[in-house]
Symmetry: C2
Subunit: 400 residues, 2 copies
């Protein structure tokens, strides 16, 4: 628990030590970005958002620029509620909080539900920003492995049962990205979803369902954990970052009213009326379902290009999960240290994120790397994977 | 310390119990808003911001809508640094954090510097949102009275010295709005500023200088505490809410590099590239110094109208401080309970904020109310004060 040390050197050093975002923002010119978890430039509706702002400010004048007053702020909340209802998650007004991105939602939940003695269960690997958030509050973690069916609930059940037997504290929350997970791209099966909900009930923990990629599936969307939840054990976190624009920073948390009220109490950036009313104006003027279908199809086609290039250009010992949606392909390069591989890849003209950043115990990630098919064009993806293949092949030769 | 109680009923109840914002947002139609701490609609540059967004997105495309990439995000930071330098506060890149409004800055500082045992010194009265932030972290406060010269540093020195003698813990931070304070409108004298800095050194606390109204003074601006600070004891908090638009939610914290790095580590809404680059585009196209001069002069003229109406329409026993800037006039109605007065005022067609919300010990605020001259027009201000005068006179007659 680091937050109680004013001016903590430890925190500053941790920050300076190993900032994955930093070298990603200074990529060599012309480098193909298979590292960025960003939407493709062409898929960010900047023209439509420009029109939305013009319409918004022409119609409402100063209202969206004041603290409160824009009718589109409650309207956005209503739109989120309606979209959730269409996915079998029916929430009341006081069960939904609009946040400045999904990450703020995760942080607020951590802020309210964790203390230095709390145990947090996480997927291994998991979203690195979430891991950073939880590490601000506690040092106690349970890592549960993920495979092509998502979180290994049988393994989790074993871990929980062992802890109970040994009298060790049980987790207060489990953080999961059940659909098109970051970084593995895999989706939790229906059976495991059911099992997980039973475990939550049996062992008394809450499930943070991070659904950032849920609407970007290539096939039929699996049922949301929140939609299957009969015990108010699921806190559902959503975001417009992957389906509209990350720079607007708009997400939400849906959960029990009492928790949502409390999260609001700790949300001290007040509201974000300008961006929220802009997003509402954008959504009014767009067929969002159609947008999602088009995005999913575009990303699927880019994903297929990446998978096909991986088959063509990577040595046969290299393996990966076949994603069912989202932004990422998780690649295993047996025997490699992907952190050492990165400078060579950058030098060759392609970027990726080394696997270690997605694990609490970073060494577990040494053989892995995350490729993103969201940002680069299809042509760049193929070229980038080819370059990566050359770097990996060179590395293999060095070792033998 | 409330944050360690998951699902705390206490927090939810505190929130539901007494939300000043709530009744302000449902004012009776036609009610003159002397409660709102908002800029006047005509002073919010909505047309210019519209043009700025059009220019921004035409020039940069998707960049401001991605997580990172807009060149205007670092440019905004540079502009803030330059403006601060013009006010004798020279900060390096790593000594400045751009935040989602001043309130987020206060919250981040509290998050990093406070724990449940920490003592916080506050002005009495003070900004209610700040009070709420600190109460999320600790129950230990020292209230220091404010008068027409600002924070009473002699009184503060006594309180500190007594605590030291008695072996009581000394404050970790003092929160002050030294210039055009919210709610009193008064400005700390130069002598008291010097005295306060000496006290910070002697007793080892940090000063949070909230400068939300500093650039809206009617006369020459007093020296910033941060500009006089030789010991790195001042954390300077600024905002564009009062001088551009509150709904954009942009502020900053300037302080020692190590603290700023740590604040950034806990700032989990990531950045706000869309609003920050929009603001930068707006500032590029505007003469900001000219804007400040014009704003100050408009607010001064509205303030004079309010003071003159107070003289004309309020009973002679009612008194107030003469503000030197900012948004507010702090009015004392001897013998009144301003919370009880409010429904009558709303009924008559004018709103204000009862004094109790600005005090830790709310009873201290019973005889006070805060009027804002920022939002209403001059004509509304005069009419509103007249209505208030009638309500107060009626209340006086009831009592006798």
């Amino acid at each position: 628990m680091k937050q109680q040390i004013p001016f903590s050197k430890e925190i500053s050093l941790a920050f300076e030590n190993d900032p994955p975002g930093q070298w990603l923002s200074v990529l060599p010119k012309g480098c193909i970005r298979l590292s960025s978890g960003y939407p493709a430039p062409a898929l960010v509706p900047s023209e439509e958002i420009k029109s939305a702002v013009v319409q918004l400010l022409s119609e409402e004048g100063d209202l969206p620029l004041q603290y409160i007053g824009s009718p589109r702020v409650p309207k956005l909340k209503e739109m989120i509620k309606e979209r959730l209802a269409g996915r079998d998650v029916v929430v009341a007004e006081d069960e939904l909080l609009v946040t400045a991105g999904a990450c703020q939602g995760i942080d607020l939940i951590a802020r309210v539900m964790l203390d230095k003695d709390a145990v947090v269960a996480i997927e291994a690997p998991t979203y690195m920003e979430a891991l950073e958030v939880f590490q601000n509050y506690t040092d106690h973690f349970i890592s549960v492995p993920v495979d092509e069916q998502g979180l290994q609930t049988e393994r989790f059940a074993e871990l929980l049962s062992n802890r109970k037997e040994q009298g060790l504290p049980l987790p207060r929350i489990l953080y999961t990205i059940p659909t098109s997970q970051n970084p593995t791209g895999t989706t939790m099966s229906l059976e495991r979803r059911k099992h997980l909900l039973l475990l939550a009930e049996e062992y008394g923990f809450f499930i943070l369902e991070d659904d950032a990629y849920g609407e970007l599936g290539f096939a039929k969307e699996p049922r949301l954990l929140k939609a299957m939840d009969k015990q108010d054990r699921v806190l559902h976190i959503g975001s417009f970052s992957k389906v509209v624009a990350p720079g607007m920073r708009i997400g939400w948390v849906a959960g029990p009213a009492e928790l949502i009220t409390t999260l609001g109490w700790f949300k001290k950036d007040i509201g974000h009326p300008f961006t929220q009313s802009t997003l509402a104006a954008f959504l009014e003027g767009s067929d969002f379902d159609k947008r999602l279908v088009s995005l999913s199809s575009t990303y699927q086609s880019k994903c297929m290009a990446m998978l096909s290039a991986l088959k063509d250009f990577l040595p046969p010992s290299v393996s990966w999960y076949v994603p069912e949606g989202g932004y990422f392909v998780w690649v295993k390069v047996p025997g490699a240290n992907t952190t050492d591989l990165l400078p060579e890849a950058l030098n060759a003209g392609v970027s990726f994120v080394p696997g270690k950043y997605f694990f609490l115990n970073q060494e577990e990630g040494n053989e892995y790397l995350r490729l993103s098919f969201s940002y680069a064009s299809k042509e760049e993806i193929v070229k980038g994977v080819q370059l990566l293949g050359e770097v990996v092949a060179l590395d293999f030769r060095k070792d033998t």
